[in-house]
């Protein structure tokens, strides 16, 4: 879908010419220009997809905290159902100060096209070591983050039947990582909003809504204060909304949006927002639905897709205690199978997860159950194939 979107974008005059790769760009552009002034130029050269004889190769980045154990469960389940996926595992050592491992991980995703990741720790506090999660998203130019937030009937929460999709700009905004101390004691942190990236993500949101039969898109912003930056984002989404007359469009200020979410979450359908607001809103919704351990998120770029648990927490405190909720990672793996076109296997796992959580109610303590992680996984594997 993202690739198809990209082809449409190329026709738009506002987007500067795209080069086959960063290396092919004119020599006049310095690395700094490439990095900070021309965000759209970082288009990647197309690399053949790693699909051979019906099997896909996928990069697996277990990350830190509960990542490795959850990945273990995913591999168990994939092995059990015989999903046609071969994992290439890349471990990243969080304590090392250089970026070699991260660069290698990014390279593997570039050549495989698809990744499944836990949350990667960045322990180093040195200023020159950037957050590895952010680096990964920026380097792969994954501009859209999608989180399907759907209530699990089997999990006790204040609100029932929430069904919201959060679409978040993933590569710029407050996460531009441009901070400096101009005068001693005065630090400026830049928030970058570009028309091209706003347009890409807005188009993504409307296309998503159209393809998935959604009725409404809500743009979340703070344009009353940040009139130019958030104003641009808002204007872009309003402009694009005119191209999708069948989809209702409204906008909401972020503070009001948070209040509405906890009070009346059912009014929302698809929500479109910039980077930091997306981070906040997705965590709020996760909290409404039952915590960090249930939902999965998807990062899309023009060529690459990376799937991960919805809230980006490592869960270091509960690592190795066999109480981590494996559902989020399993949901991410289902998303991945769907993306690769293996609907048969994806449905098989989804039905089993549904039965385990909503019918058998075998869940971990974080969502009010008493089962251990392995109990949940055992139950899911037991439920697989029962409805055939």
């Amino acid at each position: 879908m993202a690739v198809r979107l990209f082809s449409k974008l190329k026709a738009l005059p506002s987007v500067p010419a795209t080069y086959a790769s960063a290396a092919a760009a004119p020599a006049t552009l310095s690395d700094f220009d490439l990095q900070h002034k021309t965000p759209v130029i970082r288009k990647q050269k197309l690399i053949p997809v790693a699909q051979y004889g019906g099997r896909h190769a996928v990069s697996m980045l277990p990350g830190g905290g509960i990542g490795p154990e959850c990945m273990g469960y995913v591999r168990d389940i994939f092995k059990y159902i015989g999903a046609p996926v071969d994992f290439e595992v890349v471990d990243i050592d969080p304590t090392i100060d250089n970026d070699d491992d991260v660069q290698y991980a990014i390279t593997t995703i570039k050549r495989n096209g698809v990744g499944l990741k836990g949350n990667i720790e960045t322990k180093s506090e040195a200023a020159y070591v950037t957050s590895r999660n952010v680096a990964l998203r920026n380097e792969l130019d994954m501009y859209a983050y999608v989180m399907n937030c759907k209530s699990f009937p089997g999990v006790q929460t204040r609100h029932k039947d929430i069904d919201v999709v959060i679409i978040r700009q993933n590569t710029e905004g407050e996460y531009a990582m441009l901070e400096h101390e101009s005068v001693h004691g005065v630090i400026e942190s830049m928030k970058v909003v570009t028309a091209s990236n706003s347009e890409r993500v807005a188009r993504f949101a409307f296309e998503f809504a159209r393809r998935n039969g959604r009725k409404k898109v809500t743009t979340v912003h703070k344009a009353n204060i940040m009139k130019i930056s958030d104003g641009l984002f808002l204007e872009t989404s309003r402009r694009l909304a005119k191209e999708y007359p069948e989809i209702e469009h409204n906008d909401m200020i972020i503070d009001n949006c948070c209040m509405q979410l906890v009070a009346k979450p059912h009014q929302f359908d698809v929500m479109l927002m910039t980077n930091l607001y997306g981070s906040i809103v997705s965590n709020v919704v996760c909290g409404l639905i039952g915590g960090a351990g249930l939902l999965s998120g998807r990062n899309y770029g023009d060529h690459y897709a990376v799937f991960e648990p919805g809230t980006r927490n490592t869960g270091t405190a509960i690592a190795g205690k066999n109480i981590a909720n494996p559902i989020a990672m399993i949901n991410a793996s289902i998303d991945m199978l769907e993306h690769l076109g293996h609907h048969f296997h994806a449905d098989m796992i989804r039905r089993a997860v549904d039965k385990t959580v909503n019918v058998d109610r075998i869940v971990t303590p974080d969502v009010g159950g008493t089962a251990s992680s392995t109990d949940v996984v055992q139950s899911i594997m037991g439920n697989i194939g029962l409805d055939h």
């Binding site: 015989g82 046609p84 050549r111 293996h342 609907h343 139950s379 697989i384």
Partner: protein
């Protein structure tokens, strides 16, 4: 008296065994986490039929092909492997009996897996057709990557031990493009086509295969010193792709040197990636090092399907009907096929059985210096099938 008591005792023991079995099954079933037999669901989606059996296209081929394929079917039957074959007689030398290409292509693209004997290819074209049936099949399915895993077998005498290399060959372009013409009488031009897209694709396949198999090194085989543009493009594509794989060593070797190194010191090679014709030559050369065409398995891959066939393609027409051909290669192919569709247990079972036959050393076909028949060998493999694996 003793006879009667023995019989009574036997009956009692057997009875108790039956009871034990019954208790065992009924005790396990109610638990939710009883494993379904893995084969009932563990497959690529499209080949699965209702009962969880897998469908596989089967092309017996020419020469000894049908005999070898029969050996595979015997072994599958003995091991009760849940695979159903959809058989097609497909032949270039017997065009009247051959199934149409479309039928075979449809069947393979539906089943996604195929096991194939060798197709004979006549030396001269009588019809003016330049493409062989093999090439047509590959082009129709876009089976661009041929993988031959050359590995020394236990207890088989050859000049080199512990040969273990994987040869990956581009097989849809290059010298096999079937573009030949006689511009002036007595002057024939044959076009060798190399494209960046296909070179990159095969290079990526080779590196991805190396990653999947945990290999350390990829060697590109070329003749770019003479064919500077054509092979040069292939080599550059490989070099470009190698940058994406910083943890795999990349080296290049000219094809003539490569063949010499192969017979002198084959252990230096790990994964090799080659254009079409060089791959064909190196495949056969390497197969000769470990025991010949009868013991080396291969496979061809497209994005969607996989066709499993012998590594060195010889029809061995001299042995037709004599029951002396070596079925090892075909059996290894079938084992690879099973592991491709996630039936790892069965795959291991067949591979272990073949290894045991070789380690046992009593059953040898003629090509490895023995006196046994194809049938003997197949039966020996069946004998060693260990259902407990």
């Amino acid at each position: 008296m003793s006879l009667i008591s023995r019989n009574v005792f036997r009956a009692l023991v057997q009875g108790s065994q039956h009871v034990g079995k019954g208790v065992h099954t009924s005790a396990v079933n109610p638990e939710k986490n009883v494993c379904l037999a893995p084969h009932s669901i563990s497959t690529l989606q499209s080949q699965v039929s209702k009962e969880g059996r897998i469908k596989c296209t089967l092309i017996p081929g020419d020469g000894v092909g049908p005999e070898l394929v029969y050996a595979v079917q015997e072994v599958f039957k003995a091991a009760s492997i849940p695979v159903d074959f959809e058989s097609f007689f497909f032949s270039e030398v017997n065009p009247t009996l051959s199934a149409p290409l479309e039928d075979v292509v449809n069947s393979i693209s539906r089943n996604k897996i195929c096991i194939k004997g060798i197709l004979a290819t006549p030396d001269f074209s009588h019809t003016g057709e330049l493409q062989t049936l093999n090439m047509k099949l590959r082009n129709a399915l876009d089976l661009y990557a041929n993988v031959v895993h050359v590995k020394s077998l236990p207890n088989v005498k050859s000049r080199h031990n512990n040969v273990d290399c994987i040869i990956i060959r581009e097989q849809t372009e290059g010298e096999y493009s079937a573009l030949e013409h006689e511009s002036v009488p007595g002057v024939v031009e044959c076009l060798k086509i190399i494209t960046a897209q296909k070179s990159e694709r095969i290079a990526k396949f080779a590196f991805d295969y190396a990653v999947k198999m945990g290999r350390k090194k990829v060697t590109a085989v070329h003749k770019a010193n003479i064919m500077k543009l054509g092979d040069g493009l292939f080599l550059r594509s490989c070099e470009g792709m190698a940058k994406l794989y910083p943890r795999i060593q990349f080296e290049k070797m000219i094809v003539d040197n490569c063949t010499m190194q192969m017979v002198a010191n084959p252990n230096q090679f790990d994964v090799m990636v080659t254009p079409n014709l060089y791959g064909n030559i190196v495949d056969n050369l390497a197969s000769g090092l470990v025991g010949g065409a009868g013991v080396v398995a291969g496979a061809s891959y497209s994005a969607e399907c996989a066709v499993f066939e012998q590594g060195a393609r010889h029809i061995f027409s001299g042995a037709v009907g004599k029951n002396i051909a070596n079925p090892t290669a075909m059996l290894l192919c079938s084992a690879n096929l099973l592991s491709h569709v996630n039936l790892h247990a069965y795959s291991k079972m067949i591979k272990n059985a073949i290894n045991k036959v070789f380690q046992d050393g009593k059953i040898r076909t003629k090509d490895l210096g023995g006196q046994c028949t194809t049938k003997d060998f197949t039966n020996a493999v069946i004998h060693f099938l260990d259902h407990e694996v």
